[in-house]
Symmetry: C2
């Protein structure tokens, strides 16, 4: 009996090692990387040497992220379209802002969660960093529609903000760029480790067997050729506007100058419908099918689609606890909101 | 020396008591009441016997309060116009909602902080409770513009919400009314004790001497004839639409059937500009002057206005700590947002 148990344990261990080894090779080939377990490694991954994270900067950035007074109307904040209570986005097909204007290229708001892992920001990748990106929507007429000088006036007219900027940015002048740096710093902290990361970090039981199967399918059919790295996306990829499918031209968006488009992160993907740069569908299975067809040239079977969608459940992340910031009160010098 | 000290202490004590006694008589005559110190008394004051507060109900209500999926567009939540990061309101003169529509009566969003102390809700007092009030803006076309049945569908289509409702409301059906009950329960907890309350609760040093002077002026010129009770307002009062002043008719608002209008709370008043039901001015001193003129028939002096505005600083309250709720994910059955 003792010998038998010994043998079967050895067998089980051998099989487990074999299974794990297989996954490791696959994962390595697929260039899939977890959010690390160790806080220090995480910090290395999310920090920006040109805008180092400090507690005060992140706290200031959080306030600005939630402050609708950075918009012309006083009604729209970063959190309106990149809602941290939802999947870090807004659930609507097309970004909608000041005066209910819609993004002229019919673009869908991407999630801010894990956006730090993107190599570039915006759908056409025109921005190199979160710090730079954050200054865009504040000023864009269909979004917050605020003149940079008015955004700066809001901040400089509120003593608590002014003091915080002086403390955080020392001698640096308050500009739309320093506002972007504060907001970008906060956004760098918005990462959501998931069971998928636990698995990649060595916890074999973090995924169900069906999710593991799904991950294998995800890799073997080729999804990871674009959706890879820590972000499971975030790079630039070719952009085939294939007509019979919903992942086609709506509006006049053509990607970057080479026709490339940013690959969305798949982290929290089940919370960030609708899908595609044009928000054309809320159906994750339809989305997987169309991606297989247009990007990989494959008609994925129902079983493959089901397996991949099942794996996506493991990408629902653990969101950071966020205490709602209480914003400092405006003064007589603060620009008044304009609804028109 | 010992005797001298004894005498001067007695004198000081006697003077302090006299000063306190004077204030007490004034405060009593003015019908000014603090938010109590004791948690039990606070609970008695804010609870609704028809919708008793429980931890689970408040937590559910908080989620719904922040959930934009209760609006037709999926972009507007209770917190959009009653922003808890600001003074519990939106800083704009006229409530602005779905499709950028504005309140047809040109009404300003009142603060939700301390609204539990109002005897009635809405500017015309047509709603008897926060629970009832909360169902209004969800359905109002210029606000969240959601059909009641769609709001119910959102809740019933999301398993975590459905379970929470079953737990909180036992056998009760999920309706727009139970949604209102959950939101109302959360709103009841949104109270902000201030230095003014500390003073009324016996801490003589909680107000500066200038603020104490301001409080006396506030009472002696007659402000407290309408701005009284725990809410420093919240009842109904006559509504003189006096033409030369900004506190005059804009839009077609006429108050209730007797021409009465809800008296706004003065708690956090320096955070809730613009003022008046029509949001006609951002200037607190102008507001005090117009109120004196139109409601009390007095031309307040600059000194009186300054004193009252100084007292208002003591009404900036300590806001509750609110952890941003992370909302449960929608399902295929959840109604899709409609931007038009």
């Amino acid at each position: 009996m003792k010998i038998l148990v010994g043998i079967s344990l050895t067998l089980a261990a051998a099989l487990a090692i074999e299974a794990l080894a297989l996954d490791e090779v696959m994962l390595k080939q697929a260039n899939l990387q977890p959010i690390p377990k160790e806080a220090k490694k995480v910090l290395e991954l999310i920090d920006n040497p040109n805008n180092p994270l400090t507690k005060e900067k992140v706290e200031l950035g959080k306030k600005l992220y939630f402050d609708p007074r950075l918009s012309k109307s006083g009604l729209i904040s970063c959190n309106t379209c990149h809602n941290l209570s939802l999947g870090g986005d807004d659930n609507v097909p097309v970004a909608t802002g000041h005066k209910w204007r819609q993004n002229p290229h019919h673009l869908n708001s991407p999630t801010v969660y894990n956006a730090v892992f993107n190599s570039r920001q915006f759908w056409d990748g025109r921005s190199p960093s979160l710090e730079d990106q954050a200054t865009g929507p504040i000023q864009a007429p269909p979004e917050m529609d605020m003149r940079a000088e008015d955004a700066v006036k809001v901040v400089t007219s509120i003593p608590e903000y002014k003091e915080a900027f002086e403390k955080v940015f020392k001698g640096e002048k308050i500009t739309i760029e320093t506002i972007g740096k504060a907001i970008g710093a906060f956004e760098r902290t918005l990462i959501t480790p998931s069971r998928y990361d636990d698995y990649l970090n060595g916890d074999e039981d973090a995924l169900t067997s069906k999710e593991k199967e799904g991950l294998k399918t995800f890799i073997s059919v080729g999804c990871a050729s674009c959706h890879n790295g820590v972000g499971l996306g975030g790079g630039m990829a070719p952009f085939p506007a294939v007509k019979p499918y919903k992942y086609a031209y709506i509006g006049d968006f053509k990607g970057d100058k080479n026709g490339m488009v940013k690959v969305p992160t798949l982290r929290n993907i089940l919370q960030t419908a609708p899908y595609f740069h044009n928000g054309a569908t809320y159906d994750i299975k339809e989305t997987i099918f169309i991606m297989g067809k247009t990007q990989l040239g494959k008609e994925l079977t129902d079983e493959e689609i089901e397996a991949i969608a099942t794996f996506f459940k493991a990408l629902d992340g653990r969101k950071p606890k966020i205490e709602l910031p209480m914003l400092p009160t405006e003064t007589a010098e603060t620009p008044k909101p304009k609804l028109n």
